[in-house]
């Protein structure tokens, strides 16, 4: 018996470590790319590590970067579990941020805690609308949600550019010749509290971690979550079971967008205290809408595992800036590394499934056979 226990325990351990192997494999290929660029990979990775974890301030910055990643990743856990693919995190973040900023700029008479609450809800709502539209189009017009969410990103970016250069521009910038596309600054009272001054770590990180717990409960302890997952696993069976499949598709995308919208609101109230753009989506979001997908996939689409995954990718992003300064490697290398990590995670997922299938086959064979001695179990183990 102990042998079976040990072997199962071992194989679960291997499963849990697969993402680590995937990261290592990606880093090795990254090292080869660095060598091609004529940079010593050890120097580069040392700078990366130092930039991400080298000091308390560096670590705080890592967590600041990880916060929007985690929020987006939570939404991704919901939508991917429901088998709807949300690539629209960037756009949903932007719309959420626009609404939240509008709240902060227009309700200046209200107390800070109330404005922050309304603004977070506004962000949640904005993202929900922006995610809900592709959800609606998928459920009722059979429009591929991958493409519609990507298109909604581009539309949101132009909407942001319009608003930040037009109606929502900082009055001071409107008069100045420079015309930097940004909104006015939020009142000091409306800022999310800093947790570890002088670092920029803010209360948004706490919100994100609490929500990770709530999303876990939503997905595995509520009917809504159960139905979203059921639709994701098998829409036909779900339909026979009386679940309105299209409604849950819309809901999954809507909720997914809502979390990204909240991420946008948190960025405004916790980090920048205003919206500012360089004309591209990543100028505001830091590509969190995309990297959140990577983090969620890395975390196995599990809200709790998404926490360490987000910290890892936050660290890569922060460390990349330091790496760029010290060894002059473009920080875009991290985008390629992210892609490689996903490549390896997806590939290793297959290995895990194969081994799982084998385990099941072995278990089935053991069930069918009459109770047997150690010998057969050992054979089964050798096969697995």
């Amino acid at each position: 018996m102990t042998k079976i226990f040990q072997s199962e325990w071992m194989s679960h351990l291997v499963d849990a470590l697969l993402p680590v192997f995937a990261t290592l494999a990606a880093l090795i290929i990254g090292a080869i790319m660095l060598l091609v660029l004529g940079v010593n990979p050890i120097d580069a990775y040392a700078a990366l590590w130092d930039g991400a974890f080298g000091s308390s301030n560096a670590f705080a910055e890592t967590l600041v970067k990880a916060t929007p990643l985690l929020l987006v990743a939570l939404g991704i856990c919901i939508s991917f579990r429901g088998d709807v693919i949300n690539i629209g995190g960037e756009g949903q973040m932007i719309i959420g941020a626009i609404l939240a900023t509008w709240v902060g700029l227009n309700f200046t008479d209200l107390p800070g805690w109330l404005v922050i609450t309304i603004a977070m809800l506004a962000g949640f709502f904005g993202g929900a609308v922006w995610g809900g539209i592709p959800g609606f189009l998928k459920a009722y017009f059979n429009v591929n949600e991958i493409l519609s969410t990507v298109m909604m990103n581009a539309i949101a970016v132009q909407l942001m550019n319009f608003l930040l250069r037009g109606p929502m521009i900082d009055p001071a910038q409107a008069e100045a010749a420079s015309q930097i596309p940004q909104t006015a600054r939020l009142l000091d009272a409306f800022r999310l509290a800093r947790l570890m001054p002088p670092t920029r770590l803010h209360f948004g990180a706490v919100i994100a971690v609490v929500l990770a717990g709530l999303v876990y409960i939503l997905l595995w302890r509520t009917t809504l979550g159960y139905r979203i997952r059921a639709v994701g696993q098998n829409p036909h069976a779900s339909r026979y079971a009386g679940i309105q499949v299209s409604r849950y598709m819309v809901l999954a995308l809507l909720l997914s967008g809502a979390f990204a919208g909240l991420a946008g609101a948190v960025q405004v109230y916790g980090v920048n205290y205003r919206m500012i753009t360089d004309g591209s989506a990543s100028g505001f979001t830091g590509s969190a809408g995309f990297n959140g997908i990577v983090a969620a996939l890395f975390g196995g689409l599990h809200p709790i595992w998404s926490i360490p995954a987000s910290i890892l990718f936050g660290a890569l992003l922060v460390g990349a800036n330091k790496m760029q300064r010290i060894v002059q490697v473009p920080s875009a290398l991290i985008i390629a590394l992210n892609g490689l990590v996903v490549v390896f995670v997806v590939s290793s997922e297959i290995l895990r499934k194969q081994r799982q299938r084998k385990r099941l086959a072995v278990a089935k064979r053991d069930d069918e056979l009459p109770p047997s001695g150690d010998k057969q179990i050992q054979q089964a183990e050798a096969g697995s």
């Binding site: 429009v143 991958i146 519609s148 909604m152 581009a154 892609g339 490549v343 297959i350």
Partner: protein, 322 residues
């Protein structure tokens, strides 16, 4: 505003979409969805421009662009064909990978100066046709003419030749194709490679002909995604793909050019006097893509036309097919 000139430029800019769309179409016809088009186009644009600068020969650039993008596409091919992994996730990863690699290798390339471009020329006689002549056959890049040839060729190949029949069989019913002795895996690898090469060609068409230069990820500006959308609109038919590509190309040009003149249709041009209104115009291609997807998807349901039956599914020998 001269509409002839806008349409002429629109055809050139539509050629970019045409190559990428045809490439994706071929890959999807074999049953492999590749969402990495944007990444492969960036690789193509960057490689084409940088090799053309290094060698001084744009043809070398074009060749290198197609090869590099094709090689990158094989990562996706290996993951989804041999490892049976999720095609959506792997395609996304390919987009990240392609974007990252092209940004890293393209660092500093935007200031690298100008490059010898591919030749432009007019076709004698055909360019004399009123209206159509100036739009399609006057002073266009050689790549535009290649695009004209490629569309009917692709249609003929898919619908009227034996390898085209094999391609369709592999995409529709891989286990039947396998039983007939067609190598499903090899076929898919080949068409993913061809798709990658065409996406790379599309990217290089931007950086070596239509809008020369390297402007990091703004070089493609989401056209790879529009190409994936156009395949759905085209219902996997090359001719419809060409129509969609040129229409989108013309729309993109129109949006650029409408903001230039001070007077539009006899009135003051609002987009000239309020430059930030122009952002609404720039939404249009993406909004139109959504509309086109709605139309395309509805029509597909009504006519019971649709994606290749095996699109997105890995082929595993011995497992019951769908």
């Amino acid at each position: 505003m001269d509409f002839i000139i806008i349409l002429q430029a629109g055809v050139a800019s539509g050629t970019v979409l045409l190559f990428a769309t045809l490439g994706e179409l071929l890959a999807e016809r074999s049953g492999v969805l590749n969402l990495g088009v944007e990444g492969m186009m960036l690789i193509g644009a960057m490689t084409g421009f940088s090799v053309a600068i290094k060698t001084g020969n744009p043809w070398m650039g074009l060749l290198a662009a197609m090869l590099f993008a094709g090689v990158i596409s094989q990562i996706h091919a290996f993951i989804v064909i041999t490892l049976h992994a999720d095609q959506v996730v792997s395609g996304l990863a390919l987009t990240f990978l392609g974007t990252g690699i092209s940004l890293v290798l393209g660092e500093g390339l935007s200031k690298a100066g100008t490059v010898a471009l591919l030749p432009n020329f007019s076709i004698p006689l055909l360019s004399m046709i009123p209206i159509l002549g100036p739009i399609f056959f006057t002073n266009q890049s050689i790549l535009v003419y290649i695009g004209y040839l490629l569309t009917p060729l692709a249609w003929y190949y898919i619908n009227r030749t034996r390898p085209g029949l094999h391609l369709r069989a592999v995409g529709e019913y891989p286990s039947a194709a396998d039983a007939l002795g067609i190598n499903v895996f090899l076929t898919r690898y080949i068409y993913v490679f061809v798709g990658g090469m065409l996406a790379g060609l599309g990217g290089a068409t931007i950086s070596l002909a239509v809008a020369p230069g390297w402007f990091s990820e703004l070089t493609t500006g989401g056209q790879g995604w529009i190409a994936v959308g156009l395949v759905i609109f085209a219902q996997w038919d090359p001719v419809r793909a060409a129509v969609g590509s040129y229409a989108f190309g013309a729309l993109r040009r129109l949006i650029l050019d409408i903001q230039g003149p001070t007077i539009l249709f006899g009135a003051a041009n609002p987009f000239y006097y309020n430059p930030y209104w122009g952002f609404f115009l720039q939404m249009l291609p993406y909004a139109f893509t959504v509309i086109v997807l709605v139309i395309g998807s509805r029509e597909a349901i009504r006519k019971r036309l649709g994606a290749p039956a095996a699109l997105g599914n890995p082929y595993i020998r011995g497992e019951r097919g769908k």
